[in-house]
Symmetry: D2
Subunit: 140 residues, 4 copies
Amino acid sequence: MLTNRRTIHIEWGDCDPAGIVYYPRFFEWFDECTAALFEAAGFPKWDLVRGRGIVIPMVDTRCRFLIPSRFGDDVVVETGITRFGRSSFDVHHRMLKGEQVAAECFETRVWTRMEPHGAMRMKAEEIPPDVIQMLSDGIK
Amino acid sequence: MLTNRRTIHIEWGDCDPAGIVYYPRFFEWFDECTAALFEAAGFPKWDLVRGRGIVIPMVDTRCRFLIPSRFGDDVVVETGITRFGRSSFDVHHRMLKGEQVAAECFETRVWTRMEPHGAMRMKAEEIPPDVIQMLSDGIK
Amino acid sequence: MLTNRRTIHIEWGDCDPAGIVYYPRFFEWFDECTAALFEAAGFPKWDLVRGRGIVIPMVDTRCRFLIPSRFGDDVVVETGITRFGRSSFDVHHRMLKGEQVAAECFETRVWTRMEPHGAMRMKAEEIPPDVIQMLSDGIK
Amino acid sequence: MLTNRRTIHIEWGDCDPAGIVYYPRFFEWFDECTAALFEAAGFPKWDLVRGRGIVIPMVDTRCRFLIPSRFGDDVVVETGITRFGRSSFDVHHRMLKGEQVAAECFETRVWTRMEPHGAMRMKAEEIPPDVIQMLSDGIK
């Protein structure tokens, strides 16, 4: 399974008046980490969207927050795909602060075709075999 | 059980290049809806934080996205508390688009004391009986 | 000149570790206030974009921050258009906290046609007379 | 004058339904770039805030947007200080897309002491000579 690692430097503007990360920010980072995983596998998001007309919207996500983080901290997110269905797939993120797991996130997304001229007309499609292979093996 | 309803007008800046809500925004709205529920029960967040030194950080949240929404849409979020533990509690949000459930979110938060001068020194505390009563009954 | 007023309730997640609004949030609010002004004049953004294929991107904006605001505060933004050019126009926002001006923002935007299938192919267009008239007078 | 350079990879979630960067994001990036400049000079924000009790709130900022950017683009921001007053100072950012200036931002901030226990009790202070020297020369 291809795993991608990404370092995040936590900024002042990511944090709330308690001085710790405002939790919706984590979902922004995890969304970027999923995009980075696809990019590492050879499928950058701009190419998926503009080249293939494909988006991968979220249908279900859960995050457990174990250790708080604050501005100035560096954390590392490890991202991989844990299941491929016909058109849906599951992503797993582990956010590490040193040796410890600071947060853990689970996603289910769907491989979806955007119709021209209409954002609301999207329909699920079978995930292409090359995408599955690249994200499974990470061998080009 | 006290239920609070809040209307959200979806803005241009809440949406992504697919024209639908960028999903981390939902978590911002649900966080505001939990704050609004506490305010409806007589415990506005500024008073919790500045008056009592209490914050209610998230430890676990999950959201299912059922129907996409786009800018210009109005949605209504219904929020209530579904469980009180000693120091943790569960919140449930249903986002309605007309008659349909567009999204559903589950939260577990902890009643936590902020220590002066140190955002990282927080510790869980027993939820006071008046808070439980007000959020359970909604009768002041 | 049509002036629109909009109340903003400042949320926990809008604020930074200093406990005051993280200033990029102001620009989100002012963008929403400009959209609300157009909506008040009979041109909701979803109709501009989906019906007319028009967007109004920012080319220049300046904000002065006079009084800090923090979560729990309610502020009112007064928005109006102060100049119409051929395709560009200026917007002015005053954010009031009680009687005092807490912030003031100036915008220059351009009436722009979105080309199908290509976000980057946008070109300025003459602002239609009905838009100018409605935003000048506010009389439908 | 110390100049700091920072590369920004524009993400899907930074962009709006027109497919280009939602402009308030630029202010988040410029705020991070100012923090990065201070860090490059030996004054990381966490140390300013936690060690010295200093914040540098914005009092006036202006941004001109010259060339739109979209997700997948990499841009570089060059940041430097262009004026030191007694307690206020000006920051200048140039965002480059290849050889072209895509955006340009001007900031006036104030060197400000946070009082314990009260986010609203902040007062301007003289900028220390070592801060001025390090940010002027960039020589430690």
